[in-house]
């Protein structure tokens, strides 16, 4: 009897890996400290503004109201027409330049301290801590089987999250529908379809982003996270671990001199990893996930204090300063480099121009368009007549009296409709007829002649005719052959 040993071909030792994996939930540990304090300060500031502004009244209407239906934006005492979109462009350019400047100086300050994603995550994590406790408690609760206690804690958190999300959605829509009207509509179940949609959409987006997606937004959705690396250089202050001081890392008893045990000052407590909202280890150096929130700096400083080591094992430092052991003073000197100075100068110039332009903005706007129907015509007595359409826009909230005159062409005068009353915030096309007398007409060669419209805002029924705006608009007057 013989035993037959089956022969099987052994596959080569390979394995397949998935290119898609479920991300592990990051349970960031709460942190206190100087930078955390600043973050909470910006949370309070931005949220007081965001939630509070729609309720602020100004001249009997909301201080900030973007009335899309009527195409008017009300910003405190200003009324902006669609033609003022240049100010929006200016605001975006200013924001972009601020981003350049702040990123060149200190990396992702915006991400770590002011971005709505960070701010709402911070608030939602605070709620989470109230209900479920800090990191360890939450990890335990996640693993625990469902119980009344777990349902109560989870349910409480969800209820508060949803309420906050919906309140945020309501506030967002309250910038477009006056908050008081919107509140009454909600209470009376009289919301319009788009108001309902946007409250729910924005509310659920807040809930989902701040409650669940959190760092995933920064890592996989946000373009700024990706292009900022092009805006760093070796003199940019970034959250850095000092390997020369810290390595080799290792645990030890409190107060042990690192030199005596042949180790660096990092005690490898991994607290910097536990507090990180994006779940990275800062000791591996600069990574694209780092949002510059400085939570690891706060927690490490606490550890250093307990160990009686100097603070700053993790600190805001530039790559040059870290490599060349610069003092804080030298580091900051290098931060003020040409790039930063140029950004700063451009930003200051743009900012001043923006403020100046807004401050000296005329209470009316005017555009002069030649009438498309009639080029020029001869009327009674051989006078030459041209017709224009003036678009007059009232950027105030009172009835304004506008007077139209022409200059720059001898003998030219407005023959019809030189005085126009504009209702509050009204925008209106007004035909204006300009004539020149027969003598002037015969002295001018046929063709186009430059003419200037002078559009003034005069106080109605006021003998002194106080002039509050004086606009000049160029056009042409055509003399026919």
């Amino acid at each position: 009897m013989s035993r037959i040993i089956p022969i099987a071909a052994v596959p080569p030792a390979t394995a397949t890996v998935s290119l898609y994996v479920s991300e592990e939930k990051i349970q960031a540990r709460s942190v206190r400290g100087w930078f955390a304090g600043w973050r909470w300060a910006t949370v309070w500031l931005t949220q007081l503004l965001f939630y509070g502004l729609p309720w602020l009244q100004w001249n009997g209407r909301p201080a900030l109201l973007f009335d899309l239906g009527a195409r008017r934006f009300y910003v405190f005492s200003m009324v902006l027409h669609p033609q003022d979109v240049i100010y929006l462009a200016g605001l975006l350019i200013l924001s972009a330049y601020s981003l350049f400047l702040f990123t060149a100086v200190a990396g992702r300050l915006w991400c770590g301290f002011a971005c709505p994603q960070t701010v709402y995550t911070e608030i939602f994590m605070w709620v989470e801590r109230r209900f479920e406790g800090d990191r360890q408690a939450r990890i335990k609760l996640d693993a625990a089987p469902w119980s009344l206690r777990k349902i109560a804690r989870r349910g409480g958190k969800q209820a508060v999250w949803l309420a906050m999300g919906l309140w945020t959605g309501f506030t967002f829509v309250a910038y477009f529908t006056p908050a008081r009207t919107l509140g009454a509509e909600v209470l009376g179940f009289a919301l319009g379809p788009w108001e309902t949609f946007w409250i729910l959409f924005y509310g659920l987006a807040t809930y989902g982003n701040a409650g669940y997606l959190r760092e995933q937004v920064c890592k996989y959705m946000c373009p700024y996270a990706r292009f900022q690396s092009a805006m760093f250089d070796r003199d940019t202050l970034i959250v850095s671990y000092d390997p020369l001081r810290g390595e080799p890392r290792g645990s030890r008893k409190r107060g042990v001199d690192p030199a005596s045990i042949g180790k660096g000052e990092c005690i490898d407590c991994t607290l910097c990893v536990q507090v990180c909202p994006t779940g990275i280890d800062i000791r591996k150096g600069l990574q694209y996930e780092c949002i510059g929130c400085a939570a690891c700096i706060d927690v490490c400083n606490g550890v250093m204090d307990k160990m009686s080591y100097p603070r700053g094992l993790i600190r805001f430092a530039t790559q040059n300063a870290m490599a060349q052991r610069w003092s804080r003073r030298t580091t900051w000197k290098r931060v003020a480099r040409p790039r930063v100075l140029v950004y700063g100068t451009v930003l200051a110039a743009l900012g001043s121009a923006f403020v100046y332009s807004l401050a000296t903005r005329a209470p009316i706007r005017a555009d002069v368009v030649r009438d498309r129907g009639t080029l020029a015509r001869m009327v009674e007595g051989g006078r030459i007549e041209n017709v224009y359409r003036l678009q007059l826009m009232n950027a105030t909230e009172a009835v304004e009296h506008v007077r139209v005159e022409v200059e720059g062409l001898p003998g030219a005068s407005v023959a019809a409709w030189s005085d126009v009353d504009l209702a509050a915030t009204e925008s209106r096309w007004v035909p204006v007829v300009v004539q020149i007398g027969p003598e002037q007409a015969s002295s001018l060669r046929p063709g186009a002649h430059p003419i200037e419209f002078r559009i003034r805002l005069v106080a109605p029924a006021d003998a002194t005719r106080e002039i509050r705006a004086d606009l000049h608009e160029k056009s042409t007057f055509i003399v026919p052959r």
Partner: protein, 304 residues
């Protein structure tokens, strides 16, 4: 789907759409796994000596989103037209949406115009809001020919001078806008006679409006004017029933002077005011007519 000359194109598009949707899913699944080549979380690819391609997996929710978009696409092409000439279960068409929008807009407009319906022009011209609507209607529909200020141009009547070809009552204006007008001046050279006769008639016409004229020629032209009197009247004051202009005032629609008059007498002229019935609703025309009437009755008009 009349854009294509053969139904094959429609089939091709439907097929291409479905195949691409399925291919999207297939590619996602096919590319989701790869053979592990190294233990250091890299793909084993090294470029330029030290550039290592790492395996940083995409998160699963991203994959779920991708699948959801593909599912959405299937639902979309089922409900909306997307597969060649297939209409989709909702029967949506861009024309239908436009018509629904227009119907909604006219419903909303009807509420605005309801307040003005049947209100006489004399009253309506005092209503600043109605006149603002009228002005916008005028600028959008009439200003192309009559000018923004309604003073017309050569060949296009001035609507502000209270001189009317077909009558200036609000009712007549409304009729003109609704049905349009055709003004025919036939070539009259043969009926008038020689070119000298035309010269004489033109001088006579100039004399009617007290314009400078040659009195001898005008005297000879008076007899020849009989050919014109059928429409323009013996005294040249015109006839609004026929749309024949008054020749005795100083309004010169087609140009002043003997040359302009002779040109019209010799060659005639047909002028058309197009009917607005299909373009504007009766309520709109009523407001528009009141606005036009108000232009020649400025004293009754509220402050501009």
């Amino acid at each position: 789907m009349s854009d294509f000359f053969s139904s094959g194109w429609s089939l091709f598009i439907a097929l291409a759409t479905l195949v691409s949707l399925v291919a999207c899913l297939a590619l996602l699944i096919f590319a989701s796994r790869r053979t592990k080549m190294a233990d250091d979380n890299s793909t084993g690819h090294v470029f330029d000596g030290d550039l290592v391609e790492m395996n940083n997996p995409m998160p699963m929710w991203w994959v779920v989103l991708f699948v959801l978009t593909v599912i959405f696409a299937f639902v979309y092409v089922y409900a909306f037209p997307g597969l060649g000439s297939v209409a989709g279960s909702l029967g949506w068409t861009s024309r239908g949406e436009l018509e629904a929008d227009q119907a909604r807009a006219s419903r909303e407009m009807a509420q605005v115009y309801a307040a003005y319906n049947g209100v006489p022009a004399e009253t309506l011209s005092q209503d600043a809001k109605a006149m603002a609507i009228g002005q916008r209607l005028f600028i959008n529909n009439c200003a192309t020919c009559h000018g923004s200020d309604a003073r017309g141009s050569k060949g296009f009547p001035n609507l502000t001078d209270n001189d009317w070809l077909h009558g200036g009552t609000p009712e007549k204006i409304e009729e003109t806008i609704t049905l349009g007008r055709t003004g025919v001046m036939p070539p009259m050279a043969a009926a008038v006679g020689t070119s000298t006769d035309v010269h004489n008639v033109a001088q006579y016409v100039l004399s009617l409006s007290k314009s400078p004229y040659d009195s001898i020629a005008a005297y000879s032209g008076k007899a020849k004017f009989a050919a014109c009197a059928a429409c323009h009247g013996v005294d040249g004051k015109g006839n609004q029933a026929l749309g024949a202009p008054n020749l005795s005032d100083n309004v010169w629609l087609h140009g002043w002077g003997e040359a302009a008059i002779a040109e019209i007498v010799n060659n005639g002229k047909t002028s058309v005011m197009p009917a607005q019935r299909g373009r504007l609703s009766g309520e709109q025309i009523h407001v528009l007519a009141s606005y036009v009437w108000s232009l020649s009755h400025p004293r009754q008009t509220a402050a501009r």
